[in-house]
Amino acid sequence: MEKNYIIAGFGGQGVLFAGKVLANAFMLAGKNVTWYPCYGAEMRGGTVNCEIVVSDDEVSSVHKQDVDCVIALNQLSFDRFISRIKKGGMLICNSSLIEEIRPREDISYIFSPMTDKAVDSGNPKLTNMVSLGVLSNEETALNVEILEKAIDIVLPEERKKLAKSNMEAIMLGIDKLVTA
């Protein structure tokens, strides 16, 4: 089975980094995976996104029109990608920056105040990691151990000290009690 994810937000929200962590996590979970960024002029000032395609078989294609799951970190991304989600797909939203409305009835929504949680944890830059925690609640292939290992892979040597705060942010996303 093949499934694709789009993570989207402002440049600077760590969209590509979160995508790399997620792609590594799926790889560590034994899946075939392809990570593909938007690149070029789009990156300068506007929204950034990356697509991650996960499959038990060979990944067929990237750059797909339809998406199984979108993680929107800002309102622009919500507006841009909601129409591309497949029927029955999922939209995970950063409700700190996105209005909690549900324009489509054929998809499911998760609203979580990711930026607020990241601010509470001491660093608003960790919104992206909170979103991965939220996603991991929905994905059986992902767990804390795998995400921790994935962060270790993606963080360059000189930034390894940030692994701890990244994991704490993921835990805030996982913690459903705080969400409620």
């Binding site: 792609a23 990570w35 750059h63």
Partner: protein, 360 residues
């Protein structure tokens, strides 16, 4: 307990760059251009660390001619570029073929013609396979379809260039260059080729040598070109590679090169699940092209559908191979978003006339 894969998630451009290092590339000369700039970026540090040669050239023209200079001395060297900048290198490629020099060139295609744009496309098939340089010559051209093959075919490019003393190109695209996939490098799997009989290493203790692209007179010139083409025939005989899937009983065979291969394989599976006997064929070497095998397949296949991100370039070689035995049709988009599996399925159904399969 989680079993961790030994592979690493790596971008196609970085995969090509590191593979060139592992293949023993001693000198890199390049000029930045999207979507392949990461190759030069990566090597600027890596080659420095390894005390190998790295020059950010003043132009693409300079870069490819620096490669010619380096490989003339027997060093392994390469450059990388993209489409409109590879166009600037065509003169040098004609020279390198005539000089019989093991130049390695990576083209990570962007969209053309002209300056075009930085999103991916496959518009350089003609440029690579038929060339923009003058005279009769042929490059060896390899087209990877995923990040692992970016590594494998970069290794092979260095080997084939050395083995045949012929410029060899890896024809990737912006999609492959920018995407990350799990891949492993292993060790460079090919033997080192002895170039002591021709490399210009200084004439100490032996007769002086020179490498000329031209012959001294007409007879010699004719003989030289014929000899070059005998070599190209040998390359075709020994090095032509392709992949085919479900072709044994196929009525319709999808043909694609490079990263579009993945999409036609997925489309083939969808068509099969709907009762249409579809197969897939993918040349790994674009030059030499698997002409003979396609011609054999045409004995049993009704239709070939060529799927390309251009206005129809490889389709000409498929038509030449099929030589009128079967119908050859095109499903294409000039540039940008890769044709989706659904679009390819719809295109194939449209071409074969879905009536036959109305009951499915």
């Amino acid at each position: 307990m989680v079993s961790y894969s030994d592979k690493q998630l790596i971008k196609g451009n970085y995969a090509i760059a590191e593979a060139s290092v592992k293949a023993g590339c001693e000198c890199y000369f390049g000029y930045p251009i999207t979507p392949q700039t990461e190759i030069g970026e990566y090597l600027s540090q890596r080659m420095y660390d390894l005390k190998r040669g790295y020059v950010c050239a003043e132009s693409e023209l300079a870069a490819i001619n620096m490669v010619i200079g380096a490989v003339s001395t027997g060093a392994k060297a390469m450059t990388s570029s993209s489409s409109c900048a590879v166009a600037l290198m065509q003169e040098a490629l004609s020279y390198a073929c005539s000089d019989e020099l093991p130049v390695v060139l990576i083209n990570v295609m962007r969209a053309g013609p002209g300056l075009g744009y930085i999103y991916p496309a496959q518009g350089d098939y003609f440029q690579s396979v038929y060339g923009g340089g003058n005279g009769d010559y042929k490059l060896t051209v390899l087209a990877p379809s995923n990040v692992q093959e970016c590594i494998d075919l970069t290794y092979r490019a260095f080997y084939l260039a050395q083995k045949w003393r012929n410029p060899t190109m890896v024809l990737a695209d912006g999609l492959l260059g920018q995407m990350m996939e799990p891949a492993s490098f292993g060790e460079y799997p090919y033997p080192e080729v002895d170039n002591s009989s021709w490399a210009l290493t200084g004439a100490k203790g032996r007769e002086g040598r020179a490498i000329y692209s031209c012959a001294r007179d007409e007879d010699e010139h004719n003989a030289k070109i014929r000899r070059l083409f005998e070599k190209y025939d040998l390359i075709a005989k020994e090095e032509t590679t392709w992949e085919e899937f479900n072709t044994e009983d196929a009525d319709v065979v999808l043909v694609a090169f490079g990263s579009m291969t993945r999409n036609i394989k997925a489309a083939m599976k969808v068509l099969r699940s709907q009762g249409i006997k579809a197969g897939a064929f993918r040349p790994v070497t674009l030059s030499p092209f698997p002409t003979e095998r396609l011609n054999q397949l045409a004995d049993s296949v009704d239709k070939f559908v060529v799927v390309e991100m251009n206005m129809g370039q490889m389709i000409n070689d498929v038509k030449l191979a099929v030589n009128g035995k079967s119908d050859v049709k095109l499903v294409n988009r000039p540039v940008g978003e890769w044709l989706s599996v659904e679009e390819i399925v719809a295109g194939v159904k449209n071409i074969i006339g879905d009536k036959t399969y109305a009951s499915v």
